[in-house]
């Protein structure tokens, strides 16, 4: 049985509605699954579930071409998979596609007293108690020229999503929100 949406999910939904987002495209993970659940039968926002995250950026770019207002939601592992799709569609097209990247591995990284700037040595990236993707996400965002903001535990995810969409629309380039807080 589905649980009722959490206050964080309700805040994100409200932000999407207020911003006029028409489509949410992506692959759910444990963080974003409650949002995907809440969008399954949303009357005004169409949920587009894809088979691989790279598809999401191409579809969102096509949606933007057609005059729609898409938002991509992917896990950081899927973000890494999406490199050429993001580069070859939204970036090259000048499409201001906003996207949320959920932060798998951040809790373990922070519990170990480490951060995204910790040197990515072979020893670090193969540790069983850590998830290597947490150490690669932000360097990759920067390497690919994607401006981003981080929404951590205790921050307001609704306000962060609202800023993401607004700031993306004011430019001609994709923009990201790294979401390391839980939404449930």
């Amino acid at each position: 049985m589905k649980r009722p949406p959490s206050p964080a999910i309700l805040a994100v939904l409200q932000a999407l509605e207020d911003a006029g987002v028409t489509h949410v495209i992506g692959v759910p993970d444990n963080t974003s699954a409650p949002l995907f659940d809440s969008l399954q039968e949303h009357p005004g926002i169409l949920l587009v579930e894809v088979t691989r995250e790279g598809e999401a950026f191409a579809i969102a770019s096509g949606l933007w071409l057609g005059g729609a207002a898409p938002l991509v939601v992917v896990q950081n592992t899927g973000f890494l998979e999406s490199g050429d799709a993001l580069r070859g569609t939204a970036v090259r097209m000048g499409a201001p596609v906003p996207f949320v990247v959920t932060g798998r591995g951040y809790a373990k990284m922070e519990a170990a007293g480490l951060g995204p700037e910790t040197p990515r040595t072979p020893e670090l990236l193969t540790r069983a108690d850590l998830d290597s993707v947490a150490f690669m996400t932000e360097p990759t965002l920067r390497a690919w020229g994607i401006p981003y903001e981080t929404c951590r535990r205790g921050d307001d995810p609704g306000a962060a999503v609202a800023r993401l969409v607004l700031q993306a629309r004011s430019g001609d380039h994709p923009r990201a929100l790294l979401l390391t807080a839980e939404l449930a």
């Binding site: 169409l46 587009v48 598809e55 949606l63 071409l65 057609g66 005059g67 050429d84 070859g88």
Partner: protein
């Protein structure tokens, strides 16, 4: 087996206000037949992501038919998109896979499984309600009005002869109008045309 002209000329003849998205070896031939604002060349962009980009346009504009002329190598790169298309429930989408069996613009290297991959079976397996295969020019020519007009999503795979199209560029010297400017510039032109229509 069809020539590139036998494939594209019937589409150009029956095309009215459809969006046409091209990639790889049909990009220039289509651009020689059409200079419409609603043509989009994704040839120089993300490898294999043409069918999903076209799906986005179809989702944004359910009132308008979208035709995607995809390559067989490109289709193999993102087979999951077949399931995504069906899952979305779009009815205004025609996906044509141009089967030349090779990565033509890089010099005709064979695609994986050339001659053994059954694209029609892949589309049927993904749930496409309308799937057609063509290797005869006359049958293709007769079918085009129905392919463009009937509710989909529709999948067609067409066996074509190889050509000698080289790598695609974007520069003023290109013959096709949609290749004379950057992808960003053409995206602005096409978006303005779509939003205004």
């Amino acid at each position: 087996m069809l020539t590139r002209a036998q494939l594209l000329e019937p589409l150009a003849a029956h095309r009215t206000d459809e969006v046409v998205v091209t990639t790889m070896s049909v990009t220039r031939p289509w651009g020689r037949l059409s200079s419409h604002d609603l043509d989009f060349a994704s040839a120089d962009s993300a490898m294999g992501h043409t069918a999903d980009l076209a799906l986005g346009i179809a989702l944004a504009r359910p009132d308008r038919r979208v035709v995607c002329l995809n390559g067989d190598g490109s289709m193999l790169m993102t087979l999951g998109t077949l399931a995504t298309i069906v899952g979305c429930g779009v009815t205004n989408y025609l996906l044509v896979v141009v089967e030349n069996g090779s990565y033509e613009i890089t010099g005709h290297q064979p695609i994986p499984g050339r001659g053994r991959v059954d694209f029609g079976a892949l589309a049927r397996g993904a749930g496409f309600p309308r799937v057609f295969g063509f290797d005869d020019p006359a049958a293709w020519q007769r079918a085009v009005p129905d392919l463009l007009g009937a509710p989909g999503p529709t999948f067609a795979h067409v066996l074509v002869e190889p050509t000698a199209e080289g790598p695609i560029s974007r520069r003023a010297a290109e013959e096709a109008r949609y290749l004379k400017v950057s992808l960003a510039e053409w995206s602005r032109i096409m978006r303005a045309a779509l939003v205004a229509s």
